[in-house]
Amino acid sequence: MRKTHSAALAAGALLLALASTTAQAGKTLDAVKARGTVKCGVTNGVAGFSAPDTQGNWSGLDVDTCRAIAAAVLGDAKKAEFVPLNSQQRFAALQAGEVDILTRNTTWNLTRDASLGLNFTTINYYDGQGFLVPKKIKVTSAKQLKGATICTQAGTTNEKNVAEWSKAQGIPVKTVVFESFEASFKAFFSGRCQAFTTDTSALAGLRNKEAPNPDDYIILPELISKEPLAPAVKRGDDEWFAIVKWVPNALIEAEELGITQANIDKLRTDSKDPAQQRLIGTGDDLGKLLGLDKDWSYHSIKAVGNHGEMFERNVGPKSALQLPRGVNNLWSKGGLLYAMPVR
């Protein structure tokens, strides 16, 4: 009796194991493969995250996240297709299936997670909301903004944060909101407002790329909110959710393990480290579990580099934004990035 019981258990476990090794391909993955491109919702132009150059080539951290996923799924980073969305369109476009992924510097919060029919995946940038002010108004702290007019974009968490902050701190301010990001910062640089507020990363981009003279503007030291930015997918397709969750994890783990765009091909022949081998496609086949090729993470890293390289290129010291790594460093270096183990 006891024996048959354990035999049944073993058979059940085997069945389960079999079922789990041949993962069901989700409907989004099938659609992406049939179409031959991954469609990502991006901004109309936020430097460092997603912005087109004069030739229409997109670049940025969000853009690279999308390319990494396209490389993992279709083996080619060029098969990422970018759909510019304003902040009001973004959730509707994802819900309607117009884009497969929203990589549009979108803050992860409870309301959005619980009520918009989407799932956030892996945070690719830890941001916080701040203020950009012209030096000539002689303000060095956000507490001195009493009575100021502040420009920002409509339909963002920024708009609500500033209202909440103003109330909590007892600093009355007036907000002027514009439908497009561009109109809102243009109004600020024309002098309509004494301050501009959005995520600090975007402020740095504005100051360095859009200001008539960057030295005339400073970013105030206070951060008034937490803005964890993460890609999001539509609810109801767990297989696709898993892919979009694990590709960024693989890029972070690649940085932890010292795998770079430059050395990955050499490691592919030389590496004896099983952890590295799993990421470069010479170890256990983890891609199969996600419904992808064995080389999924190899293609991603080869296309965009590890997370640190993506950061350097788009927002770090080598970019126009020159943002410090700060909390966006690896956990082992005092930051918040901690990859779930790819194994």
Partner: protein, 328 residues
Amino acid sequence: VKAVVRVPAALWALLAFAAVAIALWLLRALPGVAGLWAWLAAQFGFLQQPAGFGIAEGWLAFDSADSYARAFAAGLVNTVRAAVPAAVLAVVLGTLLGIGRLTSHLLVRALCTAYVETLRNVPLLVQLLMLYFALTHLLPDSTEPVQLLPGWWLSKGGLSLPWPVREDGAFWPSRLDWPEPTAFNVIGGAALSPEYLTIVLGLGLYTAAFVAEIVRAGIGSVSSGQKLAAQALGMQPGQQLRLVVLPQALRVIVPALTNQLLSLVKNSSLAVAVGYPELVSVANTSLNSTGRAFECIAIVMAVYLVLSLSISAAMNMYNARVALRGWR
């Protein structure tokens, strides 16, 4: 001949909407209807939650702790606040321009023609953005406002002017509130922001070009014999226009003018591009923070529909008064 007073179609539509709404309310206990109300309550219940964002200006005081419903109301009030002065500007200026295009004075005629052809052939959104960036670039900084008249301050923060205010408990305004420049902005009195000035001027000037053409066509439709007859009776040019030409021209003008006023109200939704917090702007923000896209757009549609039908009904009643009697 007895004048036949007809109820305009727009009024019927409004009455029909109201009747359906009242009927649904009276029958709310019926199982099917109760389900509908429960569904509506579930869908639109978010309107009672605190909005959490601010509205920069307007007649209806709004605080971020107020509900979404009040935010929509404040947005609607702001739409009316922009559309009414713009409509007055459009009708007055448009009438003058229309008459100007028919005068024998070459320079006046050329100027009016140039105005009409320029304004009506450039998209309104482009004009609004041009006007807005011109205003915010050219005006002096709000930290250094210029005083136009005593108490009238102009800067990038807008135009501030003295405004009568009531003391607590008083019914009539008893004193003037004088604007004062402070560290960042001019505070006090009535403040007309650059966003507000842009939408009122932009909408008014643009629609005036169309109104001018309507007025010109209306006057043109009165046969020249009428004017000659008025001259023969010894009327002055002003009298000819006022007593003979305009009353007949209005029959042609009013229905076409109704269309323009409807367009004007709907075009006010473009204010969202220049940062004026009207209905669509409020709806966009609400839509984003609640994710209730369908509900917010439905509210905007319903509000514009009711607003447009009301204008249409009012204009049709006015039209019935100026239309030729006994021809129906």
